[in-house]
Assembly symmetry: C2
Homo-oligomer: 441 residues x 2
């Protein structure tokens, strides 16, 4: 890849309640009601925008995730929350996760097109297929559809969504008051989509939006997930625990995209990173350890047992993982996360208690505890070695961890010429350096 | 009904692009791109709030309605648009229409609960069942489900939504940092709903919202629609062309609510009114006539033919409606609107051209052209005679018609003691004088 075209990295702020560490809400500084407080999120988005970050990002699943005793489990729906944040910010991108398994394309395509209009072209959609029977049981199913089927549905969902976003030409509205013609009927057309999962007549009832299509993001790392990313994604969020694995993943996805005739540069690879910052490394490690001490082990053990499809009684806090765990192939859903957790535990011979500590910070994403310079060095290293086009920044504690990153790490990256000092465009596609799709008319 | 308890009326601003008159966009003052311009809508919402109106209201159908040549047909999805307006206003209620036929309860209940949190308790849901095969064909169906079936699904939809909104106790979040317990698991519970249309395990992933439930609004006036309103609605939007019909409708819905054991006062009846204001009556009538002249008859004839299920060729602009039109019983969807149009034409012996003019202003809602005092008199008259608990105000031209109503009609109603001069509470339920539902824990 030519050096000039990837001289700048991309940074998103992955927002989550009081922070990505599951015990963050227990810190004296944390507001335990933050997850439904729009002012908390407006503050976070403004901090991220002050740092000129590419976007704020929200995860989602249409289910109450985990034990509500353990951490803030209730939250605001992402398309609603990001729409509210659009009004509190001017330039930063807004990426919402939404499920292709439990939505209808006409409804979701409308909402993203509307968010793109309302925000002046800052919408992104993180496409997830939603693993797990508990989500399925909120939608009349007994269990989740199989992994492969969910990805096929996702492909059909995105295909029809693109047609819907293109169902109005960019110049469809002629606004001829004299003749009494508002839009040229020849420049608005039905989509007449008949795919394996969806039949949609169209047209969309939203004129084409500033970005044409919202930015398409994807976060699955299984085989099906990588194929889907190579075909559709413009940004890929991924959990990578080591530099070597990250480089291998990066090269694999870019290669798959190239094989499909896409420009590999048009697929940005963005691993998650959980920065835990201190003035000294010792201070950072102490904050990290303090957070881990606040984890309630019984809750965390239940959650880990769930990820591993085990009875919690099978896990001994001071022992390693039991033998005889299933292979990834036997797992339906969140396949790559399952493998990451098992591999991490095996590779480093962690006890269950240690594993819980490692996962408590970033749920599989890599935690870096250190000084601002150390974090900037790591970011630069991963970027320079071709492990990442940027990062999805997941502060362990919010807002303090985001403030520390923006005020202390970003300036170092800017000084090194690795990150923008001002937004150069107005849309999320501008920030990522990605083209606006043509309207096919 | 005791006089004291209905001494004040309720007023909503029904927002629609450049106005409710289909030719409003052709006026020199109108911005033909207003329907996707968030600044246009923020301005409208602030005007309505300046007038201390109860709410802003948005209609919706998940389909491109009508001919995009004829009037602004593309628009923003209402839950997105109202969320954006929440940030631009402080007190006014926010009522979004959403279809119970083409959504899933878990998704929609989340969005309304989220909007209620983001707005500090100002969300309302206008429940519609969505008539018409064109909408159905955006969701994989060949035609709309039958009228009765759509209403049965709507009932099941609302039943499960209420359970979801009540799945967190108001005091579920205990935020005990010391013990490490965020929410009391005994105060968050699954809904385990198994109805005729929906199976939902729950719980919702949104803590209980400021209003408990969003305000429930309904706008169907058929037999099924009235039964549904009597059972579920807290406010009913309705199209009424004459005082006598309005009184009959008002009494009928209140009687049905009473028969179901509800307090009739807890069901507010709000007819639509299209005010066309002038300094003199002649000036108002001239504006009304100017708008009617701007209607393109060929477009409007096609739309009327569609409402009447006729070939456009069967309509003669200068003749009356043809004989042999079907009875309401034979119509699937938008039943009451069909009957209203046919009755209006027959009763006043209107030509097709005249009928188009009458419908062009308010699509079946009554247009009042007159001076501010005349409009205030009419509002007072309908209110005093028990034809309405208030009105859904549908300005023919926006923003000018809303500004005129707020600045010239509202002060008269305030002087007469019929309308609030300041908001007394903070939520939409407060504005309507409706109780917050208890949480059933």
């Amino acid at each position: 890849m030519p050096e000039a075209e990837r001289s700048r990295l991309h940074l998103n702020a992955f927002l989550m309640s009081t922070g990505h560490h599951e015990a963050s809400w227990r810190l004296p500084e944390s507001d335990p009601y933050a997850s439904t407080d729009i002012e908390h999120y407006k503050n976070l988005a403004r901090i991220a925008e002050r740092g000129r970050l590419d976007s704020v990002f929200l995860a989602d699943s249409p289910v109450l995730m985990g034990d509500p005793g353990r951490r803030p489990a209730g939250k605001l729906e992402p398309t609603v929350l990001l729409t509210a944040l659009a009004g509190a910010t001017r330039r930063i991108g807004l990426i919402a996760t939404a499920s292709s398994s439990y939505n209808e394309p006409y409804n979701l395509a409308r909402r993203f097109a509307s968010l793109d209009h309302v925000s002046g072209g800052r919408a992104g959609w993180n496409i997830v297929t939603t693993a797990g029977g508990d989500a399925a049981r909120n939608f009349g199913l007994d269990d989740s559809p199989p992994h492969r089927e969910r990805y096929e549905r996702a492909a059909d969902f995105v295909d029809v969504s693109k047609k819907l976003w293109d169902s109005w030409a960019d110049d469809a509205i002629v606004a001829d008051k004299e003749r009494g013609v508002h839009a040229d009927p020849a420049r608005v057309r039905g989509v007449d989509h008949a795919g394996p999962y969806f039949r949609v007549e169209g047209a969309l009832n939203v004129p084409r939006s500033p970005q044409g299509h919202p930015l398409l993001v994807q976060a699955g790392s299984s085989e099906d997930g990588r194929d889907f990313a190579a075909r559709y994604a413009e940004a890929v969020f991924t959990a990578q625990q080591s530099l070597d694995e990250a480089i291998a993943f990066y090269q694999d996805v870019k290669r798959r995209a190239l094989a499909l005739g896409r420009d590999p540069q048009a697929v940005k690879i963005l691993p998650g990173i959980v920065p835990v910052l201190g003035d000294t490394e010792a201070e950072a490690l102490e904050l990290d350890a303090e957070l881990d001490r606040l984890i309630v082990p019984e809750y965390a053990k239940r959650q880990l047992a769930r990820t591993l499809r085990l009875d919690p009684a099978a896990l001994d806090l001071d022992g390693e993982l039991p033998d005889g765990l299933p292979e990834e192939d036997e797992i339906e859903g969140a396949k790559s996360r399952y493998t990451l957790v098992v591999d991490l535990a095996r590779r480093e011979r962690l006890t269950v208690r240690q594993l819980i500590g490692r996962l408590g910070g970033g749920r599989g994403h890599r935690t870096f505890a250190g000084t601002p310079v150390q974090i900037a060095d790591t970011i630069e290293d991963w970027f320079a070695r071709g492990a990442a086009d940027g990062f999805n920044v997941m502060p362990a504690v919010l807002p303090s961890g985001l403030e520390a990153f923006v005020d202390r790490v970003v300036p170092i990256l800017q000084e090194r010429g690795l990150f923008r000092t001002e937004y150069e465009g107005t849309t999320l596609r501008d920030h990522y350096g990605l083209a606006r799709p043509a309207d096919r008319f």
